[in-house]
Assembly symmetry: C2
Homo-oligomer: 359 residues x 2
């Protein structure tokens, strides 16, 4: 059993797995890396119990078989190798040669390592980078609180009209629509697993095939297979918190508003991060007051609707909602204490809802 | 009382103070920033109890006086200002204007703020960047242990022959010589305060003037004054641990040795980080063995003296000792268990001593 593989290929493969393979675990075998020599290449695997990943790397291979190496040590060694090529020779130990460096690494039989199962995708595919984008745009709104556990996930709604991603913590909501034809179903992915999907697929060219099985979503790319455990249940009906009629609409640069909010918020109350926004015929006055004083800034905006309205927000919630918006933002107010909408004028897929603070 | 100052000038001044002004303190007044309007410019101050710093910034000033502003809030605001110019107007509150942003910040009288005293330097001066360099070269060897507290400092030895900086933790020692004529004395600076000297002066052009007073060293640059509390006592005689006769000398690339040690050390014992170095007629064999296996690498070296000798080190100690060496390193062995010397062939000022591990 021998493998010859470019150091870079091996290091890139390991970097996909490194974050999910735990460095400590109550089940120590999960800290090991399964290496499988197959006719299809060198296969690396890892799991954190929530996300299973398999990476297939092109390599010159003699023989077939599978064994475990200590994941962290193996990664550290591979990253620091002096040569461009790595030679792996499996015997009682794993001999690794690269340039003038040689190592003999203890290996373990793969017996006892959990079998990772991946769904078999049908014909449903989606652009890897756009899937990552749909998750990234809404991820910030997911809850970190223990209660209402379902809100600690990102909901993906597949339908013939498209993929809709949604996240909410009850005080704010983010929704993103990607036009694509899919079979109808709803899944909720734990937010941390959603982060892993983004990390692995955001820079991948091409498409991933999707397979939804009993409690898992499998994503299959050219070199990577990933199975993600789903959360049970689905989001409560959130459509009713999205307001439909508005008293005022304002348009302005998302970046200017975000920068201005950051400055003014420095002075805001440390507990509720309250900033007051006074929309007033072509002007937006932002101000905040806390223990150390008061900050105030005026921006030029375009408005339609009522001539004047004051709304207070948690500054951080508004800053988060603006982050995915490039260019111009449209803010739609349904009233001083009822939910506001944040939309990107140049990307109709994105919509955020922020509930104002009580006056 | 009014100040007009470029945002950049003010932000740079604050960045010098930010790290030493505590964000929390049992003496809360130390979390404030004294702002002094004087004929010499805008003066900012701060202290962490060990290091006092005063920064003088050129500014358009009307009036004189001094007051305190909350340091962290003020810094955060200044960093994020939209305009290029900042206007400060002192009244009951501090009004700060920049671009479309305005703030009113609460201010406090400077009563109760400790008076910072700086020594008056004579004619002794030293290049700011080279002083920083002399400290940086040896800093790593300072102890972090509670016992033998003096070793938690960096000793500066002034003499007509030069400035010698020394640090040691009892298992290793680093020494750096800078040729310059100074009046003879020895000072020990707490390692953390030494880090502040480096941070503030490493990129400063020109010279700093030195004043040694009762228990303090004052450093005076063009715009910055810094007073550092000294440790009591001086280093025990360390000269006797520096070996004078050698059984083998080896020369090789410092970077190649460092990289190789890092790779091999991945496999080393987690407790003592032991690596074995076998010097053997033009070859250096490095190997380490731990729970996960064994690593080994061979480097070409030039040697003189005995034909073969094996020495074991804590890999991290040797890696640290090599870090300040650019180009070629000369390693001088006095025996398998007696101290070894690490020298930079291209910088005669640097010398490190590493005590081998017992075989």
């Amino acid at each position: 059993m021998e493998v010859r593989i470019p150091k870079r290929t091996l290091a890139e493969g390991l970097s996909i797995l490194e974050r999910i393979i735990p460095s400590r675990s109550s089940n120590p075998i999960l800290t090991y890396l399964p290496l499988e020599l197959s006719d299809n290449g060198l296969i690396l695997k890892g799991t954190n119990g929530e996300v299973d990943i398999e990476v297939r790397l092109p390599a010159e291979i003699q023989g077939t078989g599978q064994m475990l190496v200590p994941a962290q040590t193996f990664s550290q060694i591979v990253r620091s190798l002096p040569g461009e090529l790595v030679e792996l020779i499996f015997g009682e130990r794993l001999e690794l040669h690269s340039g003038a460096f040689n190592t003999q690494l203890s290996i373990t039989s793969s017996e006892g390592y959990p079998e990772l199962t991946f769904g078999n995708p049908g014909s449903e595919k989606i652009s890897a980078s756009r899937l990552a984008q749909a998750i990234t745009r809404v991820r910030y709104a997911a809850s970190t609180e223990e209660y209402r556990a379902i809100f600690r996930g990102v909901q993906l709604e597949f339908s013939p009209q498209g993929l809709r991603s949604v996240a909410s913590d009850g005080f704010r909501l983010a929704r993103y629509d990607l036009p694509i034809t899919l079979e109808s179903r709803k899944l909720v992915i734990p937010a941390r697993s959603a982060d892993e999907i983004v990390r692995v697929f955001k820079d991948v060219q091409g498409e991933v095939a999707l397979a939804v099985g009993e409690g898992t979503l499998t994503l299959v790319g050219d070199a990577v297979r990933m199975a993600v455990k789903l959360m049970e249940g689905e989001f409560p009906d959130y459509a009713r918190v999205i307001p439909q009629s508005f008293v005022l609409e304002a348009t302005l640069s998302a970046e200017a508003l975000q920068e201005s909010l950051k400055r003014v918020a420095v002075l805001s109350d440390r507990n509720n991060h309250r900033v007051n926004l006074l929309f007033n015929e072509g002007k937006l006055d932002i101000d905040a007051e806390g223990d150390y004083g008061r900050g105030r800034e005026e921006l030029n905006i375009e408005t339609s609707g009522e001539s004047q309205i004051m709304v207070a927000y948690n500054a951080q919630y508004l800053i988060d909602a603006l982050a995915p918006v490039e260019g111009t933002v449209r803010i739609k107010l349904s009233g001083p204490t009822s939910p506001s909408i944040v939309q990107a004028t140049e990307d109709s897929g994105y919509l955020a809802v922020v509930v104002p603070l009580r006056v």
